[in-house]
Symmetry: C2
Subunit: 219 residues, 2 copies
Amino acid sequence: MVDSIIVLSGGMDSAVLLAQTLKEGKTAQAISFDYGSKHNDRELPMAVGLCEEFAIKHQIIKLPFIGELFSSSLLTGGEEIPDGAYGQENMKSTVVPFRNGIMLAIAAGYAESVQAGEVLLGSHSGDHHIYPDCRPEFNNAFAEAVNLGTDGQVAIRFPFSEMTKRDIGDLGRTLDLDFAKTWTCYKGGELHCGVCAACDERKEALRHPEGLDVTKYLV
Amino acid sequence: MVDSIIVLSGGMDSAVLLAQTLKEGKTAQAISFDYGSKHNDRELPMAVGLCEEFAIKHQIIKLPFIGELFSSSLLTGGEEIPDGAYGQENMKSTVVPFRNGIMLAIAAGYAESVQAGEVLLGSHSGDHHIYPDCRPEFNNAFAEAVNLGTDGQVAIRFPFSEMTKRDIGDLGRTLDLDFAKTWTCYKGGELHCGVCAACDERKEALRHPEGLDVTKYLV
């Protein structure tokens, strides 16, 4: 038995969530998903490293059917990821249909199997309207469905739902999290590209202009 | 583009749902899941055969992590499936945690990817209380979450929710469905065992005592 299953992408939000959950004295396991995105190859090793560092059990679930059957520019084999801000129309090509719903459903089933009472996801208030399965109304409806579908055994919780990404960055710093051990860039190169929408937000969240961001960017 | 994605197990309910949907003049694709159950080896070839017969596109999604990580007597490697009626306490061992939630989430993402407006599942009024993710209140909550999480693009529907399994059997007969091309038994032998809870219900649904059931049973 374990208290919490954390959906761990290897990005900064879920890394802070992991550090924070353990700091609270909970026992935790992490679950990550390899769904064929262009940046999975960069994110997942970060998730592995974090779980080694925090000495917690880690499951990586492969979902090859998403890369093979679903359409999105975020996926290997999809069109090129556009540059620019998330709000722009062209960023809609990065939606992976119902990705969060699929990940949360699997995490819920796993949690019930190992008798963990909660699944934690690091959604925050700045998650983008272009992703319908990241919006608060979806999160609440899905949590209710999981509550019913597991007979009240598993709660889905979003502890950062009222925080901004910068709040999360600041929290991670107070927890001494090394953000160099997390990955954000959508493009999946050797270094963070520094210009995609995801990098833009990371820079702001980690106070790059103030010189506090330890990330090495290409630009 | 296609009208409907049908979750097709290869059992009698989803086979009737497929026949009925096509009869209504809709275009359809089927999606099946190989999640490591003891009877997947018997069910899935039935699903393949039905899709060939009806000449529709068919995706079989492998979910090996369920067999490897989840606990249930229904899974290969799990304990033995108990005999007896579904209502009994011991039948709870056959619950695969959040199985329907996982299947429906993936079907929803696939539907959005191929621009199908609905996912159909053959749940019926006799689905058992021991499976929390088959209950009507779960179905409704999950459908609402999918509606929100796909921005209204995908509806999850349960056309048989008010019918009994026998109603479904009778409907299939009016559609000339050959029930010998469907599989129900939980035990996954060469023939339907004829004594497990699933076979019991199939016999009743297909009017076995009245001599109308074409299934070959071991007993």
